[in-house]
């Protein structure tokens, strides 16, 4: 009898664990992203050196730094596209590498990687299908959200640069990811579209999504909830935009960045 009970318990446990959601719910205040001691080299180039950071759900986290600082590498590590040489990355409570967690990540690469021959709708529907989405409404909704509903059936090569960027964003949003990784999403956008993008980002964060946004444009830094300043693969300083200014002892973020970068150089 005792053995039966144990068996039964095991069985129930297994069923219970199958019913449990794979990921923790957003209401849990666990960080969406935990990066622990991550280093990554390409040959002799140390792209990332001992990065530690945590990102809370519902926040917009800005990775700020000059070109070649390692921002893209860090985002690609978070997207599961690169495995760090050293260190661990937990995304939404799952340790990478984990193909399952990819269904909850939206990734917008620096270049608007879309299929030129296809329409916006075909592009978005293709990536929606790869995410396992069968819902055509989700495609329509996201096209409307980025303001492409009218031109959704024209091939992308007929679009303006800004429209292509919107297709790229729509692809990353269609499966309602809980973590959105945006690599320089606003570079080259006109001020109106840039404003619209930032309104989308803020609305997504308000809805509980976590956003990681890289930029080298200082005037975008104040739109972030938290900032990480990256230079030569290292996280120099981290905090709210206000904290960063205080640390650097200046009101101006650009000056703050230069001041901190100089300090770092002196230290190195």
């Amino acid at each position: 009898m005792a053995a039966d009970d144990v068996d039964g318990a095991t069985c129930r446990d297994e069923m219970a664990s199958q019913e449990k959601p794979v990921r923790p719910t957003p209401s849990v205040a666990a960080p969406s992203v935990i990066v622990r001691g991550v280093s990554k080299s390409f040959g002799n180039v140390h792209a990332l050196a001992d990065i530690d950071l945590q990102i809370q759900p519902g926040t917009i986290y800005g990775l700020l730094g000059p070109s070649g600082a390692g921002k893209t590498t860090l985002v690609r590590v978070m997207a599961g596209l690169l495995r760090p040489d050293v260190g661990d990355v937990d995304i939404l409570g799952q340790r990478l590498p984990d193909p399952e967690v990819l269904a909850h990540i939206g990734y917008v690469p620096q270049l608007p990687a879309v299929y030129d021959e296809l329409s916006a709708r075909q592009n978005v529907a293709f990536f929606a299908a790869l995410q396992g989405l069968r819902d055509a409404d989700a495609v329509d909704d996201v096209l409307a959200l980025v303001g492409l509903a009218d031109r959704a059936d024209s091939p992308v090569h007929e679009y303006s640069g800004g429209m292509v960027r919107r297709v790229s964003l729509a692809i990353a949003l269609v499966h309602r990811p809980r973590l959105l990784l945006l690599d320089e999403p606003t570079v080259g956008l006109d001020p109106v579209l840039r404003q619209a993008f930032w309104e989308h980002f803020r609305a997504l964060a308000d809805g509980g999504s976590t956003l990681v946004v890289t930029t080298h444009v200082m005037d975008e830094a104040d739109r972030m909830d938290r900032l990480g300043l990256v230079r030569a693969g290292r996280l120099l300083v981290e905090g709210t935009p206000h904290d960063v200014r205080t640390t650097a002892g200046t009101d101006n973020l650009e000056a703050a960045f230069l001041a901190l970068a100089d300090d770092d150089e002196v230290m190195a």
């Binding site: 596209l81 990540i105 990687a113």
Partner: protein, 355 residues
């Protein structure tokens, strides 16, 4: 499977919108096939041979040329005229017969092949003039032929068609896959796909299905042109060609995906054509039979996938062997082995550091 089909649909959707590429795949092989067929047929037209000499000898030789060499005789008035006709290229060669039964063959040494063939005719003509048979009797004498297969005798183009179908299936699919997968790699869409839960094998599978469909449509067009456009003769059923076309294109897609990893630009991808396609065109039995290759080239020929594709299509279409009989089956297994090896390499070439 859903994701694989999503990739297949996308590949086909892209092709449908790319009319130029569609034309390349559908129309170019058909036109090439028609052109080669016409040229090969034309080259098989009987060559003209000038003949001069005593009328009785000329009449006998005319028959001998027709029967032995498949050539038409043009009667010339003198040895000088024969020489002039050969020199001007109006005839492939000339014969000057003497009253005493002597035979002189007049040749342009820059026209290959014909000398050997006509040398034997000249010999025969000399023997004929000695034996002095009745030309009418000689013409009427028809040997009894028993055909093992291919009754009436196939022409060169009939025998070449299966190899051409095999070659086109390999070539165009390789060209398209390597360039489109390269664009996937360099354009960032591959990375984007890898940032979704899609698996690498699903991606490769989607490409295989998409380009497989394309290869089958192309195969149908080429075969249609061959059979109904050129009137190509075949012993086996045409439908038996399609599973083999699908297998050849499978090898081609996975090879194209794998090799696209070694190019950074479309120009570099095209550079694989002389490296990968040309040796197969030369050594896989498309033009020259494998058995006629020098010994040291034979192992190389047997290491090329197209060799098995050509052999299988020739066995099935020319020799009328069943798809599941020994020969075609061994070829099909060899093609599958190539496909599996290239597929493993293709999947390994798509790097994603998540499992």
């Amino acid at each position: 499977m859903t994701r694989t089909l999503a990739i297949t649909r996308r590949v086909l959707g892209q092709l449908r919108r790319d009319h130029r590429t569609l034309a390349l795949v559908m129309i170019v092989p058909a036109l090439t096939m028609l052109l080669i067929g016409t040229l090969v047929r034309n080259a098989a037209v009987q060559p003209a041979i000038a003949v001069a000499g005593p009328p009785a000898s000329v009449a006998r030789l005319t028959v001998a040329l027709d029967v032995l060499a498949g050539a038409d005789a043009i009667v010339a008035q003198s040895a000088d005229e024969v020489a002039r006709l050969v020199d001007d290229g109006d005839v492939a060669a000339g014969f000057v017969l003497s009253e005493t039964g002597g035979v002189e063959l007049v040749l342009d040494g820059t026209v290959p092949g014909i000398g050997q063939r006509l040398g034997r005719v000249a010999l025969a003509a000399g023997l004929l003039s000695a034996a002095d048979p009745d030309p009418a009797e000689l013409a009427a004498a028809q040997p009894a032929i028993s055909w093992v297969r291919g009754e009436g005798g196939f022409e060169t183009i009939d025998a070449a068609a299966p190899a051409m179908i095999a070659f086109f299936s390999l070539f165009f699919v390789f060209l398209l896959t390597s360039v489109s997968f390269l664009r996937e790699r360099t354009g960032g869409t591959l990375e984007r796909i890898m940032a979704t839960p899609a698996r690498r094998r699903e991606l490769v599978g989607g490409y295989v299905l998409g380009f497989g469909v394309l290869a089958l449509v192309q195969g149908a067009i080429i075969t249609g042109v061959a059979v109904w456009g050129l009137g190509i003769r075949h012993e086996g059923p045409i439908a038996a060609a399609f599973p083999l076309v699908a297998l050849i294109s499978l090898v081609s897609v996975v090879l194209g995906i794998f090799l696209s990893a070694f190019s950074r630009t479309e120009l570099q991808a095209i550079q694989f054509i002389p490296i990968v396609i040309t040796p197969q065109a030369l050594l896989s039995g498309v033009v020259w039979p494998i058995e006629s290759l020098p010994g040291w080239l034979q192992p190389i020929a047997h290491g090329l996938p197209l060799t098995y594709g050509v052999d299988a299509l020739e066995r099935v279409l020319l020799r009328g062997e069943g798809l599941l009989s020994m020969g075609p089956l061994v070829d099909a297994l060899a093609l599958l082995a190539f496909a599996s090896a290239f597929a493993a390499l293709a999947i390994a070439s798509i790097r994603r550091e998540v499992a």
